[in-house]
């Protein structure tokens, strides 16, 4: 029993102190309010491409939403990992070139 309680606690609270439940509520509020707000607008949109792009973007947002719920366990490649891959080495070299070393 004690073991089970410990497991529930460990799963539900991240090191940052934010509950999984709290994060799920934040996401439900975000998705819910957007769906309510956009419902009438989407009905008036006749263009299929616009609706398709809307759905694709909402699905793309799940890519960020899922790691947000589970926080650290999923190490997903995001925008900054890609930027890191492309720019960081050169940027660091430039910064070193322009920085005067400490005496």
């Amino acid at each position: 029993m004690e073991n089970r309680l410990y497991r529930v606690n460990a799963l539900s609270k991240s090191p940052g102190g934010m509950h999984v439940l709290e994060r799920i509520i934040v996401l439900l509020l975000a998705y819910g309010s957007i769906s309510l707000y956009d419902r009438s607008h989407l009905r008036s949109v006749s263009n299929r491409a616009e609706k398709a792009v809307y759905i694709v973007l909402m699905l793309a947002s799940l890519y960020f939403a899922i790691p947000y719920i589970f926080e650290s366990p999923i190490d997903f490649p995001g925008l900054y990992e890609l930027a890191d891959l492309v720019f960081t080495d050169l940027a660091r070299r430039l910064d070193q070139m322009l920085t005067v070393p400490e005496p």
């Binding site: 707000y37 909402m58 925008l79 900054y80 430039l94 322009l98």
Partner: protein, 364 residues
């Protein structure tokens, strides 16, 4: 269709000034002084000149294609597929900018006032208001932001004037105690934020009313000059007050406002600077979100950008929450990676399209 929206040259120049000055007036002085020390104002002059050159390219392209956005004339000049390929970096950079602007508000609130409040409490509200403003359109933004920016300029000027008795001009010399390198480092940093970001207005110049569009070039240049002057004054005042410590203070203008004490009547007016930071960042975030939506809509040839405002705001909101792993990573991205990122995302494509337009024009 978004083309129905029109604003006059004065309104777009106010939007431009708002975009360039909004959050940078508070966020720029400290890290810039940290890099360039007392030569920070020289760095601003150098990066401002580069910004002016980029603005020149934008105005040249606008003169050639007055009714088209950057995506549209890039399609005409270099073709559809190359435009889509070179648009990946600007899109990623705009998402990063949006994340950074809103995250700045959350970090400021958490570090100075509401330490225990989770970030989403601030970011969700800013994204909601920004998305609703974008849905309202450019005309609404132009009218509303004019009023807000006047208040920001009054507040910041008042704080800088009231702190005058504490200024020590001796802190301004020597201008380059460690040579030219730190000044160039500062120039590279301030070129990335905010001067390379002028690129975003390549998407907005098409909305300027055509019969009265003649004063556009003058107004835009005047806005940029005003911005350079404002940032220089704010930086110089910060140096004169804090001296070598100015680079260590996180929000130096906020700290500067804390020192104001006039006859024990006007004291603790730092909240005025806090409000200015929030309002300035909100306006910049709104313009960035507007341009991001417009960019995607033009790239995918959608009829109305309004449909995709909410999903893009949601993606940016979630990216603010999970995008970066640690504070150290964030500091490195903003201060070291950002200038290089905007060079490849904004400046390089703009220069490429300008060169192609120029060669084609000459060939004709």
């Amino acid at each position: 269709m978004d083309k129905l929206e029109t604003i006059n040259p004065q309104q777009i120049s106010v939007l431009f000034f708002t975009f360039m000055t909004g959050s940078s007036i508070i966020n720029i002085p400290a890290p810039l002084i940290g890099k360039a020390e007392s030569g920070a104002w020289l760095s601003l002059l150098i990066s401002g000149s580069i910004g002016m050159m980029l603005l020149g390219c934008m105005l040249y392209l606008h003169a050639r294609f007055p009714n088209a956005s950057y995506v549209e004339y890039s399609r005409k000049l270099i073709g559809s597929w190359p435009t889509i390929i070179i648009s990946i970096l600007p899109l990623s950079c705009m998402l990063h900018m949006l994340t950074a602007i809103v995250l700045d508000i959350a970090l400021f609130m958490k570090s100075s006032m509401l330490r225990e409040t989770p970030s989403y409490a601030f970011t969700s509200l800013i994204y909601t208001v920004a998305a609703l403003t974008v849905r309202a359109g450019l005309e609404v933004m132009a009218r509303m932001f004019t009023i807000i920016v006047i208040f920001i300029v009054i507040f910041v000027s008042a704080v800088l004037l009231l702190a005058m008795e504490n200024y020590n001009p001796e802190f301004l010399v020597p201008v380059m105690p460690q040579g030219l390198k730190p000044v160039l480092n500062g120039a590279f940093f301030s070129y990335g934020f905010p001067y390379a970001e002028v690129f975003l207005f390549t998407m907005l110049l098409q909305f300027v009313r055509k019969p009265s569009g003649s004063g556009l070039n003058r107004n835009m240049l005047l806005s940029l000059l005003m911005n350079i002057l404002t940032l220089c004054i704010s930086t110089v005042c910060t140096i004169m007050l804090f001296g070598p410590l100015a680079g260590i203070k996180k929000y130096s203008l906020y700290e500067l406002a804390r020192t104001v004490d006039v006859q024990e009547i006007i004291t603790r007016i730092e909240s005025v600077i806090g409000m200015s930071l929030i309002a300035g960042s909100y306006m910049k975030a709104t313009i960035t979100l507007y341009v991001l939506c417009l960019f995607v809509a033009h790239l995918l040839k959608l009829k109305d950008y309004r449909t995709i405002v909410m999903p893009i705001a949601l993606i940016a909101f979630l990216n603010t929450l999970v995008g970066f792993k640690s504070d150290m990573q964030w500091v490195e991205i903003v201060s070291i990676v950002h200038p290089l990122w905007v060079t490849f995302a904004y400046s390089a494509p703009l220069l490429l399209v300008t060169v192609v337009a120029f060669i084609r024009y000459r060939a004709k």
